[in-house]
């Protein structure tokens, strides 16, 4: 038996699976067809369905540092929905939950390079890191300077040289917004990358899942969860979390999550924070606001100020019922850049 332990694996032909219950056509075409829809919906974006990238229609802007991000699809609006003035110059969507390939990242990088260098914003997953690294090498061959900002804010994962390290989750939005605002002002490559790294270092995230999500290719939930159990410390790729626990009231879950965040990245009374309560896909906004209220209560008890906040589905995991809480310590400069105008399909203010 070469198909080993863990589940019962019958090799070979199996009963035909039922159709995947999603609003799609052929599961293999989901990303391309969704990109076509994005193109139809957003004339202000240039969507290259063949090369698989989304760029501002106006890119490149000579002299402006360009921001390129990307990752597997299934996290929408991240990343394609964050392309536009004040945020990204381009995004590379991979297949669902699969990092983009180097050619694609290179094509996007070349499409938006304005001669001032390109910042790659990369969530810390083995695949993303390797593909962006290969792309950066290819870009260097073509004379484009690339700085990489790695996002690894998920404190559910231990940060050890013996693991793949912490995952990039909710803080990606913060890095893209704040670094994007600085780039828009005409800052230099190193400065833009530096503020991105600073935001990442100042951010911590923690997530819970009530259900698994279903990828179009698999057609069934990635794991089964009893009615009264939740996954604690999940990422955004439908993988199980660090552990399974009994369901508890939102009040208690929030308290545990905030403890985990502050244990990993301690804050001091009086610190100003940005709080992102982020739905992973199937969690109603009603619950997200309820959770935000609980977070506000707990942070107030600790003497922390919530200076900026965001509630909604921003960094999602397809149709997972779950949510992540991100707390970032803010500087004056970060607040200024957060408040700067942004005009993207997924995040918009000030313009």
């Amino acid at each position: 038996m070469l198909w080993g332990a863990g589940r019962d694996h019958a090799v070979g032909n199996e009963a035909k699976e039922p159709a995947v219950k999603k609003f799609i056509n052929d599961p293999a075409d989901v990303v391309a067809e969704a990109l076509a829809g994005l193109a139809a919906a957003h004339p202000e974006l240039r969507v290259d369905v063949t090369e698989r990238y989304v760029a501002r229609a106006s890119a490149p802007r000579p002299g402006k540092v360009a921001l390129v991000s990307g990752g597997g699809s299934g996290h929408e609006p991240l990343h394609g929905g964050f392309v536009g003035p004040g945020m990204l110059d381009a995004a590379c969507p991979g297949e669902v939950f699969t990092s983009p390939v180097p050619d694609q990242i290179l094509a996007a990088t070349k499409a938006v390079d304005g001669g001032a260098g390109v910042v790659h914003i990369v969530k810390n997953y083995t695949g993303d890191v390797m593909n962006f690294q290969l792309a950066a090498e290819l870009a260097a061959d073509e004379g484009i300077t690339v700085e990489t900002v790695l996002v690894d804010d998920d404190v559910a994962v231990e940060n050890s040289t013996w693991t793949a390290g912490r995952r990039g989750t909710g803080a990606t939005l913060l890095v893209e917004k704040i670094a994007g605002a600085l780039a828009e002002e005409g800052a230099k490559l190193g400065e833009v990358a530096a503020v991105g790294r600073e935001v990442n270092a100042a951010s911590a995230s923690f997530a819970y899942a009530l259900t698994a999500c279903t990828t179009p290719a698999a057609g069934r939930p990635g794991f089964d969860l009893p009615d009264d159990e939740i996954e604690v410390g999940v990422g955004i790729h439908g993988e199980p979390g660090r552990r399974r626990e009994k369901l508890r009231p939102a009040r208690e879950l929030v308290r545990s999550a905030v403890d985990a965040l502050l244990d990993a990245k301690p804050l001091n009374p009086g610190d100003r924070t940005l709080v992102l309560v982020n739905g992973l896909g199937a969690t109603p906004l009603l619950e997200q606001y309820l959770v935000f209220g609980e977070v506000a209560t707990v942070l107030a008890e600790r003497g922390l100020e919530i200076s900026r906040r965001l509630v909604g589905n921003y960094v999602t995991s397809l149709d997972m019922a779950g949510l992540s809480i991100t707390v970032a310590r803010l500087t004056d400069e970060m607040i200024r850049l957060w408040d700067a105008p942004v005009r993207t399909p997924g995040l918009r203010w000030g313009v």
Binding site: P102, N131, F223, R243
Partner: protein
């Protein structure tokens, strides 16, 4: 068949067999990945190796090394995820380590090239043996291949031995706790599940055994 050399035709046949195998086993690989990863390994490799098979159809290779370089480049361009760069870089390294321009490689050349492939995976991914990755099937497969060749075995026998060792290596990943890749996020919960990447590595070595079997 010349059982002491790998030529262009055999290299192409190997990669085509690998493509057929990962395609047939897509669901199984995906299930393994769903348990401790994100459930895309089967689809990733099926997409990648199908593209490899398609690109080899155009053919016209004169050097056996070029077959692997092309296959590696195609995997890098089509797979994405962790396995795309890892397998892609591995095949490129194999191809580049084969004698430049040579139409075929003898078994010593092949062993050296496979060694270069494993080194490339380890350099790019940083995984140690026991980390529950591709390395845990690739390394024993290479050891078995080298041992067989050193013992005077012909290609069919060496390939069969490598495939057997890869399979054992893959199975042996089940009790391990992952320390690299997505599965590492699960901590101890990754134990008890066979590693998808090690399993696909076995499928690839098994494909070589299958196409060389007498």
């Amino acid at each position: 068949m010349d059982t002491t050399h790998l030529d262009v035709a055999l290299a192409v046949a190997w990669l085509r067999a690998a493509a057929a195998s990962v395609t047939a086993e897509t669901d199984q690989l995906t299930r393994l990945d769903a348990a401790i990863g994100d459930g895309d390994h089967g689809v990733n490799l099926a997409r990648g190796f199908t593209a490899v098979a398609a690109t080899l159809d155009g053919g016209g290779f004169t050097a056996v090394g070029d077959v692997f370089v092309r296959a590696g480049a195609t995997l890098i361009a089509k797979v994405g995820g962790a396995s795309g760069p890892l397998y892609g870089t591995a095949f490129r390294a194999v191809g580049k380590a084969l004698p430049p321009g040579a139409a075929s490689a003898d078994l010593a050349d092949l062993a050296t090239a496979l060694h270069a492939g494993l080194d490339a995976v380890r350099k790019l991914g940083g995984a140690e043996p026991g980390d529950k990755t591709i390395v845990d099937a690739f390394r024993p497969a290479l050891d078995a291949f080298e041992e067989a060749v050193a013992g005077g075995a012909a290609l069919p026998e060496a390939a069969a031995s490598a495939a057997r060792a890869a399979g054992e290596g893959a199975r042996a990943t089940a009790p391990l706790t992952a320390r690299k890749g997505r599965a590492s996020y699960l901590g101890e919960r990754s134990a008890g599940h066979q590693d998808p990447g090690a399993t696909s590595t076995w499928l690839i070595f098994q494909a070589l055994a299958d196409v060389t079997a007498p």
